[in-house]
């Protein structure tokens, strides 16, 4: 797993799960449709990504589908970072 996915996974685990939650998260775990991150909390996740990776995520790209897995989030961040570069 690359650093980007590790960092996002760590953030999700830290912010959206209880400390003693024993669920295993992987880059393909369903976050939104799986009920781990709700659509309101997506905003704080989006802010985290924008801050940490210095990207601007357009509202049109910030859909529940795009934020549903760490893999899809990482792909979005990578795409936006590439455009910025």
């Amino acid at each position: 797993m690359d650093d980007l996915r590790i960092a996002i996974l760590d953030y999700v685990r830290r912010e959206y799960l209880e400390e003693d939650d024993e669920r295993t998260l992987s880059p393909s775990t369903r976050l939104i449709s799986g009920g781990i991150v709700d659509s309101f909390s997506m905003v704080s996740l989006k802010r985290f990504l924008e801050r940490k990776y210095d990207v601007k995520i357009p509202d049109a790209d910030a859909s529940p589908e795009a934020f549903d897995t760490v893999d899809s989030i990482a792909a979005l961040v990578e795409r936006l970072a590439a455009v910025r570069a």
């Binding site: 912010e15 209880e18 400390e19 003693d20 939650d21 669920r23 369903r30 976050l31 939104i32 449709s33 799986g34 009920g35 781990i36 991150v37 709700d38 659509s39 309101f40 909390s41 905003v43 704080s44 802010r47 985290f48 801050r51 509202d59 049109a60 859909s63 529940p64 589908e65 549903d68």
Partner: protein
């Protein structure tokens, strides 16, 4: 913009499904000589049948010959499936009632359901009513502070929860002297503490026969907490007679028929999820399906297709999220079983009505009601022309009017804005706010129940929503009280003062925006903003989390020092600031 365009019933006559007359018949005819006794007769109350809602949702349906019909078809986030017949519902709710009774829970005591949409939530809801206790459903995404506030106010004696929510319950419990029993429905090998007990629905001996508590029509049944402008959330107290309205509105507005498969995607932590996600469909003996998963267009369409859902009750926020995903995912699925769509929570914009007609071949029918009303009070009905963007017309038996904002006299003139008022007395109207008679008294003026919503009525008698008459924030169909958010903000070590207001949002209609001043030595930064957002989310809920925080040098105040939210709100909505002559100058 096609606001107000009429969509005639002809559009419903699509070849995809057999067209049957709507249950309501014609709205005009239904209003003539209407009496709620029509529902009481159908429920058998004249024969002396039990009034208890729990009995009516399960035993009564079995007695009607539907014992082996599926009551609940449940699907979990990982695709797990469970199916419960009405006889299962009868027996398992007996089991839950007996089990709680054996552990000292008695009639009238408040039992909180702090659960995701797992089967135990639905079965326990019925069981607690059979026991004669009061069900207090709470949204499982609430943080410990929101949980503690509501449990403390209600003097709740028992919480039924899941292992994943146990840490929040434990943290809240330190503040709750009345809470003596915590029931964990999926404890497994978890180590439980004092006063914590495991309940395993599959392992518990089934109770075939149970003496249901002899509830009277005015016996308390369900306690839902709702937010207001001032103070902490208020407990809206419903009674068993609410069934009369919930049964009939489900039948006439949602048009449920015996062979329907019904999906209400609201969480039972909110009133829609109980009035129309439990009581309404089951009192009509209808199969309902539940998806215990978050939003996802593909997931939702697969669910609709797989379960052959015929009637779907949703919300504008969800519909707008689906609109964002476009028509492509719709076309990948066979949604031909759908025959009726309805929506609640916030005004349904005309674009959503038209989009749903294009996407599903059916328009969403907007419905209007509140936690306090307990049932739909204004609606668009099957068979009645829809004016896109309108709330519709009052339900038969409900008298609604637009009231002058100062005199609370009805306004005869079409199109003039006033407060939407209702003549009190329908069966499911709340009987009070828990521990708060003064708050309840404020909901009435000049013989009218005041909804707190502003609207207009047109010459054809259709009602139109204009906006809230107070500072309450309606986000995604959920009401958030600014006071609760402001209190949580003040608990953050960097925050000196706070104000929470609504900000317009294209998906959720409104979201929470916070204005804060910082304590000396603290500096505004993007990291601090995110920290405060997450701080509020964890204490209260994701819904109450400010989606934006403005760091300001000072907040607008009256000369007496009160923060004036309306000025901040007006700025957000681009509206005139109104009278600012009484504000303090910086």
């Amino acid at each position: 913009m096609r606001n107000g365009e009429t969509i005639g019933p002809a559009l419903l006559e699509l070849p995809r499904t057999e067209v049957r007359p709507p249950n309501i018949g014609s709205w005009e005819e239904a209003r003539k000589g209407f009496a709620w006794s029509v529902a009481e007769r159908e429920l058998g109350w004249g024969r002396g049948d039990p009034v208890n809602i729990g009995w009516n949702l399960s035993d009564r349906i079995c007695r009607l010959g539907r014992a082996q019909k599926p009551a609940l078809v449940w699907e979990g986030a990982e695709g797990q499936e469970r199916c419960y017949t009405f006889d299962d519902l009868r027996v398992l709710s007996n089991t839950m009632a007996a089990w709680l009774g054996e552990r000292g829970v008695g009639p009238g005591e408040r039992v909180c359901l702090f659960l995701d949409r797992v089967p135990e939530l639905y079965l326990a809801f019925v069981g607690i009513l059979k026991l004669g206790a009061v069900v207090q459903p709470l949204f499982s995404a609430f943080g410990e502070e929101s949980l503690a506030t509501r449990l403390l106010d209600a003097g709740t004696c028992c919480v039924v929860t899941q292992r994943k929510h146990l840490p929040k319950v434990r943290r809240a419990r330190t503040l709750l002297p009345d809470l003596r029993l915590v029931v964990v429905v999926d404890a497994g090998d978890a180590k439980l503490g004092e006063g914590e007990v495991a309940f395993d629905l599959d392992a518990e001996p089934r109770v075939e026969s149970y003496e249901v508590f002899p509830a009277q029509p005015e016996t308390p049944s369900v306690l839902h907490y709702t937010s207001g402008t001032t103070g902490q959330p208020k407990g809206a107290q419903h009674v068993h007679r609410s069934l009369v309205s919930q049964f009939l509105t489900t039948k006439w507005v949602l048009d449920l028929k015996e062979d329907d498969v019904y999906w209400c995607n609201a969480d039972p932590g909110w009133v829609t999820g109980t009035s129309y996600g439990i009581i309404g469909p089951w009192s009509n003996g209808v199969t309902q399906v539940v998806l215990d998963a978050g939003f996802g267009a593909e997931r939702w369409y697969s669910f609709l297709e797989k379960r052959r859902v015929t009637v779907w009750y949703s919300a504008p926020t969800a519909i707008r999220l689906l609109m964002k995903e476009g028509l492509v995912p719709v076309r990948r699925h066979d949604l031909s079983a759908l025959r009726h769509l309805a929506s609640v929570g916030e005004p349904l914009n005309p674009e959503a009505v038209h989009w749903s007609r294009d996407a599903y071949g059916l328009p969403f029918h907007d419905t209007f009601w509140q936690t306090e009303t307990g049932c739909i009070v204004v609606s668009n009905y099957p068979g009645m022309p829809i004016k896109a963007g309108s709330m519709g017309k009052p339900f038969p038996g409900i008298t609604a009017a637009i009231l002058d904002l100062k005199t609370f006299e009805p306004i005869a003139e079409p199109g003039r804005v006033g407060m939407i008022g209702l003549v009190p007395g329908w069966p499911s109207m709340i009987r009070g706010y828990w521990n708060n008679p003064a708050g309840y008294a404020k909901k009435f003026a000049n013989g009218w129940y005041l909804t707190g919503d502003r609207g207009t009525v047109d010459a054809d008698g259709y009602f139109w929503f204009v906006g809230r008459d107070d500072d309450v924030i309606n986000t995604g169909g959920h009401l958030v009280g600014p006071f609760e958010v402001e209190s949580a903000l003040l608990e953050h070590p960097a925050v000196a003062e706070s104000a929470a207001v609504a900000k317009p949002d294209p998906v959720n209609m409104e979201v929470v925006k916070a204005f804060v001043t910082l304590k000396p030595g603290r500096e505004a930064s993007p990291d601090l903003e995110l920290e405060i957002m997450n701080f509020v989310r964890k204490r209260l809920s994701p819904i109450a989390m400010p989606q934006e925080i403005a760091f300001v040098p000072s907040l607008p105040r009256t000369r007496s020092g009160k923060i004036v939210r309306r000025v901040l709100r007006a700025q957000e909505f681009g509206e005139p600031l109104g009278d600012v002559s009484t504000l303090m100058e910086d």
